[in-house]
C-alpha cells in the first residue's frame, strides 16, 4: 500500500501544487487522481517515485518511507507511463521495452524475450518489434509505453494522462486493455487523468483534487456519483451523474419476461396465445435474434413484414451490461421495453422501463444498506 501522509509541495517559485494531501492507495487496484488542469495531479504522482520531492509530509510504500531506499531502486520498482508514451525515438520498439530489464542487469537476450512477451500482452503485433517509435500510431506507441513500464514486473504502475493524446475510439480500446491487464496482473496502479469519465471507468477509487492541490473527495466511483462531497465535485462530475451511476448497478437481477417473444414463423395459435401477454411482442428470426416490436394485432401468422416492425433499440446482455445499458435500450425503443440478449445476440427476454426503474430503486436500497452497515461498524 502507498500511503501519502499530509504531503505538501511548494515549488521554488512559490506555487503550492499540493496542499496537505493524505491518501491511502490500496494494493492491486486502480486509484485515479482526477481534477482540473493545474490541480497538482502530476506533482502528486511524481512525488510517489521521487521525481519531485515533497516540501512537507512523507510517503510510505508498504509502511516504509520511500526516502529510505536509493532513488533509482525505488523508481525501478515502479512503472511510469506518460502522455505520448515518452518512447526513446532512437531505439526499436523491442529495445524500448527491454530498457528496464537491461538496467536491472538482465542479458540482452533475456530482456528481449521478456519484451516480446510483453508486446503480446499489451496487444501489439510482434511484427512491430524492429520498428522505431515514429513508425507507430499514437495508440500503438501508448501500448509500447505500457509494455515498457511493465517490463520489470514492478508492483506499482504510475500513469500520467497516458491516453489523453489519442483519439476517442483508440482511447476506449486502451482503457479496456488496461482493465484487462490489471485483472490479469493485479498491479497497484495510480492513474492521473483530467477526464472524469475515464476516472469513473477505470478507478477502483477516485481522488478528486481541486485547484490548489487540495483533496475534494476520495471515494469509489459509485459513491462519488451518488454522493458528491460538495458543489465543486458535483459540478466536476457533470450533468449525467444519475445515469452514469447506473453503470455500477448490475443488470443480473432484472426479471426478464419471455412471453412477449415470438418467432417470425410463429403459427396463428402461438400468436393468439401471446396476444395478451404484453402490449407489444418482440419478433425474432429463426436463430432467435430480435427483429423488432409489433403490436399483437398487427401480426399475421407466417408472414412478417419486417419494414413495419418497430425499432427494438440497442439490446443489453444481462449480467455483463449494467442497468445503464438496460435503461438505454428501454428509452431507445418506442415501446419502452428493453431487449435482453445472450452473448450470441439471441433474445433471452424483454424488460419494461418500469421494471428497470424498480431495479434501480432496489439497487439504491442495497447501496444505502451497505452504507448503513459500513457506518454502523
Amino acid at each position: 500500500m502507498i500511503r501519502i501522509d499530509a504531503v505538501t509541495k511548494r515549488y521554488p517559485d512559490g506555487t503550492v501544487a499540493v496542499d496537505r494531501l493524505s491518501l491511502e492507495i490500496p494494493d492491486r487496484a486502480i486509484t485515479v487522481l482526477v481534477g482540473p488542469s493545474g490541480c497538482g495531479k502530476t506533482t502528486t504522482l511524481r512525488m510517489i517515485n521521487r521525481m519531485v520531492e515533497p516540501t512537507e509530509g512523507s510517503i510510505l510504500l508498504d509502511g516504509q518511507d520511500i526516502r529510505q531506499q536509493p532513488v533509482n531502486t525505488l523508481r525501478r520498482s515502479m512503472g511510469y507511463v506518460i502522455q505520448n508514451a515518452g518512447l526513446f525515438p532512437h531505439r526499436t520498439i523491442l529495445d524500448n521495452i527491454a530498457t528496464v530489464p537491461r538496467l536491472l542487469g538482465r542479458s540482452r537476450r533475456q530482456a528481449r524475450d521478456r519484451a516480446a512477451e510483453l508486446m503480446e500482452r499489451v496487444g501489439l503485433d510482434t511484427a512491430l518489434a524492429k520498428r522505431y517509435p515514429y513508425q507507430l500510431s499514437g495508440g500503438q506507441q501508448q501500448r509500447v509505453g505500457v509494455a515498457r513500464a511493465l517490463a520489470a514486473d514492478p508492483p506499482v504502475l504510475l500513469m500520467d494522462e497516458p491516453f489523453s493524446a489519442v483519439d476517442p475510439v483508440v482511447r476506449k480500446q486502451l482503457q479496456d486493455e488496461l482493465l484487462r491487464i490489471q485483472e490479469e496482473l493485479g498491479k497497484t496502479i495510480v492513474f492521473v487523468t483530467h477526464d472524469i469519465d475515464e476516472a469513473i471507468k477505470l478507478g477502483t477509487r477516485v481522488a478528486v483534487l481541486r485547484t490548489g492541490g487540495r483533496l475534494a473527495q476520495y471515494a469509489a466511483p459509485a459513491e462519488l456519483l451518488s454522493a458528491p462531497a460538495d458543489a465543486f465535485v458535483e459540478d466536476f462530475l457533470g450533468a449525467d451523474r444519475g445515469i452514469r451511476r447506473l453503470s455500477f448497478f448490475p443488470s443480473a437481477g432484472l426479471e426478464l419476461q419471455t412471453a412477449p417473444l415470438v418467432p417470425a414463423d410463429a403459427d396463428a395459435g402461438t400468436l393468439a396465445a401471446r396476444a395478451t401477454a404484453a402490449p407489444y411482442l418482440l419478433v425474432t428470426d429463426p436463430d432467435g435474434r430480435p427483429l423488432g416490436w409489433s403490436e399483437p394485432g398487427r401480426l399475421t401468422a407466417g408472414a412478417v413484414d419486417r419494414e413495419r416492425l418497430l425499432d427494438y433499440g440497442r439490446p443489453f446482455v444481462p449480467g455483463t451490461d449494467s442497468l445503464r445499458a438496460a435503461l438505454d435500450g428501454a428509452v431507445l425503443s418506442p415501446t419502452g421495453w428493453a431487449v435482453a440478449v445472450d452473448g450470441e445476440g439471441r433474445a433471452v427476454g424483454v424488460v419494461s422501463q418500469q421494471v428497470i426503474g424498480e431495479a434501480i430503486r432496489a439497487a439504491h436500497g442495497r447501496v444505502a444498506e451497505r452504507a448503513g452497515e459500513a457506518a454502523g461498524r
Binding site: 517515485n49 521525481m51 532513488v71 533509482n72 531502486t73 525505488l74 523508481r75 525501478r76 515502479m78 512503472g79 511510469y80 506518460i82 502522455q83 505520448n84 508514451a85 515518452g86 518512447l87 526513446f88 525515438p89 532512437h90 531505439r91 526499436t92 530498457t99 528496464v100 538496467l103 522505431y132 517509435p133 515514429y134 513508425q135 509505453g145 515498457r148 513500464a149 504510475l158
Partner: protein, 224 residues
C-alpha cells in the same frame, strides 16, 4: 585564363606533386592541423556543452562565451600569438580552437536542451542514473545536431587552417600565401580548390558518420 584553367595548370604541373612543397605533403600537413584543432576543440566543447545542456544551467554564460569566441578574429589571434609565443604550431592552434569551440559548444548545448523532454522524463522515471540518461537517451537523440555542430566547426577549421602559412607553417595555405606574393594564380586557385575539396570531403565524411552513428529512429523522426 579563367579560374578553371588556373586550377588545371596547377594540377597538371608534376612539380606540384612531390617534395616538401608537393600536394601530398601540404595536404597531409593541413589535415594534421585540422584534426589536431578539431580534437582539442571537441575535447573542450563537447563535455561542457553536454553538461550544460543536460543540467540546463549556464546557458547565458555559454552564449556569451560563444559570442566572444566568434568575435575574436582568428587572424588577429594568430598574429598576436605569434608575437607572444613565436614560431611554432601553438600560435596556430589557439585561433583555430577559439574558432571551433563556439559552434561545437553552442550546438551541443542546444542539441541536448532541445531533446524532447518526455523520453528524458520517462528515462528518469524508470530509474536511469543521470549519466545514463545523458549518454543513452539525450546524446543519441541529440546526435544529429551535435554532429552538425562538429561539422560546422570542421569546415571552418579546414578553411581557416590556411592562416598557418602566414606564420611560415605548411598546409594548403602555403599555396595561397605563396601564390599571393609570387603573383602565381595557379597556386592560389589550386590551393583554394584543394581547400574547398577538403571541405567537401569533410562534409561527406560527416554525412557518412551520421548515417552510421545516428539511429534510424532519430534520423527519420527528426527532419522528416
Amino acid at each position: 585564363m579563367n579560374v578553371l584553367d588556373f586550377a588545371r595548370a596547377f594540377f597538371v604541373d608534376s612539380a606540384h606533386w612531390h617534395g616538401y612543397d608537393g600536394i601530398p605533403t601540404r595536404f597531409a600537413e593541413h589535415i594534421g592541423y585540422c584534426l589536431e584543432a578539431l580534437a582539442i576543440a571537441a575535447a573542450i566543447g563537447l563535455p561542457v556543452g553536454l553538461l550544460t545542456g543536460h543540467t540546463g544551467r549556464g546557458g547565458n554564460a555559454l552564449a556569451f562565451l560563444a559570442t566572444a569566441g566568434r568575435a575574436l578574429p582568428s587572424f588577429g589571434l594568430l598574429v598576436l600569438m605569434f608575437i607572444w609565443i613565436g614560431l611554432g604550431l601553438l600560435p596556430v592552434m589557439i585561433p583555430l580552437v577559439v574558432l571551433a569551440v563556439p559552434p561545437i559548444l553552442v550546438t551541443t548545448y542546444e542539441a541536448v536542451r532541445s531533446v524532447d523532454p518526455s523520453p528524458v522524463d520517462a528515462a528518469r522515471g524508470m530509474g536511469m542514473p543521470e549519466a545514463r540518461v545523458l549518454f543513452q537517451v539525450e546524446v543519441p537523440v541529440a546526435l544529429p545536431l551535435i554532429l552538425s555542430g562538429l561539422r560546422t566547426a570542421a569546415v571552418q577549421i579546414v578553411s581557416t587552417a590556411t592562416i598557418a602559412a602566414y606564420v611560415s607553417l605548411g598546409g594548403l595555405g602555403r599555396y595561397i600565401i605563396d601564390g599571393l606574393y609570387q603573383k602565381d594564380y595557379e597556386k592560389v586557385v589550386g590551393g583554394a580548390t584543394l581547400v574547398a575539396g577538403l571541405a567537401l570531403v569533410t562534409l561527406a565524411l560527416f554525412w557518412a558518420v551520421s548515417r552510421l552513428a545516428v539511429s534510424p529512429g532519430v534520423r527519420r523522426s527528426g527532419r522528416g
